[in-house]
Symmetry: C2
Subunit: 456 residues, 2 copies
């Protein structure tokens, strides 16, 4: 079941590697030159590809090849897979499109590819996909840009949507451990990948973008096992009737009724995301420990965002913690008279890093609090930057160190970027919208609940 | 009722203008130096402020002053307002805090300020606010950064949240015509501002962030009148019980039950936003004409985003248009065989600007289509940028020119920035998330419906 040959291959052959910048094989090879291991270009015409000695066939490569990335025109794919099998390649990522997604004839050709591969004990990703990325090994076997490094493994059934999400997350500073565009899933599918990722220390959570699953029973069976170890978050497209019809025409897979998927996800402990951002927000939460309950404390330097976050937390079925009288008194002792010392604690705009530190510490120490959300909007007093507020939260978290999760909602775009980086490098997932931080809190609570960890 | 003195004042006095970069009066005066009109610093100690001749009192200014921006310490506010009255100032924006939001005593002091002002026929914004911005006049009478220019007037009851949204929108390329932080609303409130903005050509829509409204009946009465002319979109914080409690402690206003607000908004034709992004997405839609029905056509170069958008459109109660047979045939004539020619039209990844142009044109011409959503994810073929796709849509829109609204969802972060700018400068609101473009479509339909413009 080990997919080491996919994510840490000993040697990679790029079949269809190109010197022509307008070809996908150009981008793929360019990306893979950064890989920690060995990469070999295969090109039927050119002696070298991008300055590297090229081979006419994968069979000509003198060294061991674990993984082949196939970007040749469709008519050459079958022969290429046959060659890969003979070479002893263990896995092939077929980027080339024009198979199962085109109709019955394409489905047949796709099945033939799988048969050839299996005859040689080889496994396939794709066809019709963007490729595979393992950021921890600097392996970008796709024709798109490098995702940022992170802790979430993201499997996408839509290559373009996956690519769009990669570009979007670069702008937003969100990272991935792996990005796997599974395309038509002719061979390797969600279930098998999840099973592997469950035991891979590089990934803290698994995010799935799903259009349609062929073997529902197997998905449920595997997901049930995987979610005992690691959170799985699914965004299912085609929840509406018109969406389902579109999804079915897109991937050729039966989208099926949302009710059936919903039941399957719930049965198997898969967390359901409503939007792309919801999926990312939930998946990113798991750098924090799991809470023992659903009582959330909110601290903020501005009332409005605190109120919106309280609303969002409530909408997710979590509760605002009732702070202990002792906590309230101690907060009152150093916060200004205009501050609100009930949950949400509004330290008001004058709050400095030291106030964040003291408040976070008191809230984390309160036995009625299971989890902390720290909010900061752009400090409005000249000379302040949100970095000191981030530092205050981190200091408190490290000192108290009692296993309660801390999430952050730092508003204000570019002003908060440094603070956000600081929080995230200390394992505090940081969001820019009330509903996103609430989704993250919900994901932690729900996963803890499913594991039987909630004490209530 | 004219608020010309607030948004196009003949002269502005910054009372408390400062040379000390750590004071708010420094930022306010620095910002206002860019104003199209005249600005005078008032400072009791310094001869000049930031290189400009300063006055010891507003009474010493030789010229006419329409607007005073007050950033003096709290104990000087009363005397300052008295002086402003004597000077014949028409409006004052009181940034200084420490009034109604602190309790009964503060409420009393606040009422005194209003009484003084009214005695002189002067009106007040604030106290306890961030200030007022009119981007069309380069007037930034706040201590925060300049918002981007746009068509939406945004009134915020939370200064910090408003500021956070301004910073956030700069990062996202979203603009405002006006930003009005109303603070405690001791005098001028939502209703009066809406009434003025309804007839102001600079603003296409009015967005409100509301924590609590004092005079609900008056709000409804005015909103009903305003929404006949211009869309009003409200984000109400404190919808949950815990949120309402927090809101009430924050602004001192009674938050009231969400059910009551919801009914009031619906009665008066105010569009309800669920999140900050929802509010912005809806408000930005109105650079497009209103649709005659709720039938949406979706075109895309990638299946996944098309499916998610179909889901989001459906969730908003809109419908996917059933394309005419003629449209389907013509699409089939030039799109590749793998394209989906039913709605959503998936032109697949190979689609170029020309395909966007031809497809958009056909969809806009289809009598079964009331509105078009054009989607583009990062084009995956080397040498393509989303700019040509944007150009195709714009060309089709201009040629067809039949009054059907066009919205865009261009995914992929920084890769799409140029395309987004191009679309927006041609009046096409462009979004980065399926739920946002769906909210925009919903806002157009709902506003048209409320005006009795839907033909079904």
């Amino acid at each position: 079941m080990g997919f080491e040959y996919l994510f840490h291959p000993k040697g990679i052959a790029v079949i269809g590697a190109s010197n022509d910048p307008l070809k996908l094989g150009y981008e793929v090879f360019k990306n893979l030159k950064k890989y920690d291991g060995k990469v070999y270009p295969v090109n039927v015409k050119d002696e070298t590809v991008q300055g590297v000695k090229a081979y006419r066939s994968v069979l000509d490569i003198p060294d061991e090849i674990d993984l082949a990335v196939v970007v040749v025109p469709k008519r050459f794919v079958k022969g290429t897979i046959e060659d890969c099998g003979k070479k002893g390649v263990k896995g092939a990522v077929i980027i080339t499109a024009g198979f199962g997604e085109t109709g019955e004839e394409g489905k047949k050709e796709e099945r033939e590819l799988v048969e050839i591969a299996h005859r040689y004990g080889m496994r396939l990703i794709g066809p019709n996909c963007v490729g595979v990325v393992n950021t921890k090994a600097n392996m970008n076997a796709t024709f798109i840009t490098d995702p940022k490094k992170g802790d979430v493994a993201f499997i996408s059934q839509s290559g373009a949507l996956g690519a769009g999400i990669v570009y979007k997350t670069i702008k937003e500073g969100i990272g991935f451990s792996k990005f796997i565009s599974v395309g038509n899933m002719a061979d390797i599918d969600f279930a098998e990948l999840m099973d592997y990722l469950a035991d891979d220390d590089d990934d803290r959570a698994i995010a799935l973008y799903i259009e349609g699953i062929k073997d529902g029973r197997r998905f449920i069976e595997v997901a049930r096992r995987v979610t005992k170890k690691k959170p799985v978050i699914a965004l299912k497209a085609g929840r509406s009737e018109s969406g389902a019809r579109a999804a079915s025409s897109h991937t050729g897979s039966l989208a099926g009724s949302w009710k059936i998927y919903e039941a399957a996800f719930k049965q198997s402990g898969v967390l359901i995301a409503d939007t792309i951002d919801d999926m990312l927000s939930m998946a990113r939460a798991f750098t924090q420990p799991l809470p023992k309950g659903r009582r959330v404390a909110i601290m903020t330097n501005a009332g409005g965002p605190g109120v919106l976050t309280a609303d969002a937390v409530d909408a997710k079925g979590l509760r605002l913690a009732n702070l202990e009288e002792k906590t309230v008194e101690e907060l009152r002792s150093f916060l200004p008279p205009m501050a609100a010392v009930k949950n949400p604690v509004d330290m008001i705009a004058s709050a400095r890093g030291e106030d964040y530190y003291r408040t976070a510490k008191l809230l984390l120490q309160d036995p009625n609090v299971d989890m902390l959300i720290s909010i900061c909007v752009v400090p409005t007093f000249a000379g302040m930057t949100p970095t000191e507020h981030a530092e205050g939260v981190i200091k408190a978290m490290k000192e108290v160190n009692n296993g309660k999760p801390v999430l952050a909602f730092f508003m204000a775009g570019y002003v908060s970027e440094k603070a956000k980086e600081l929080l995230e490098s200390n394992g505090v997932p940081t969001y820019e919208r009330p509903e996103d931080v609430a989704s993250a809190a919900y994901a932690l609570v729900k996963f803890a609940e499913d594991k039987g960890l909630l004490e209530e």
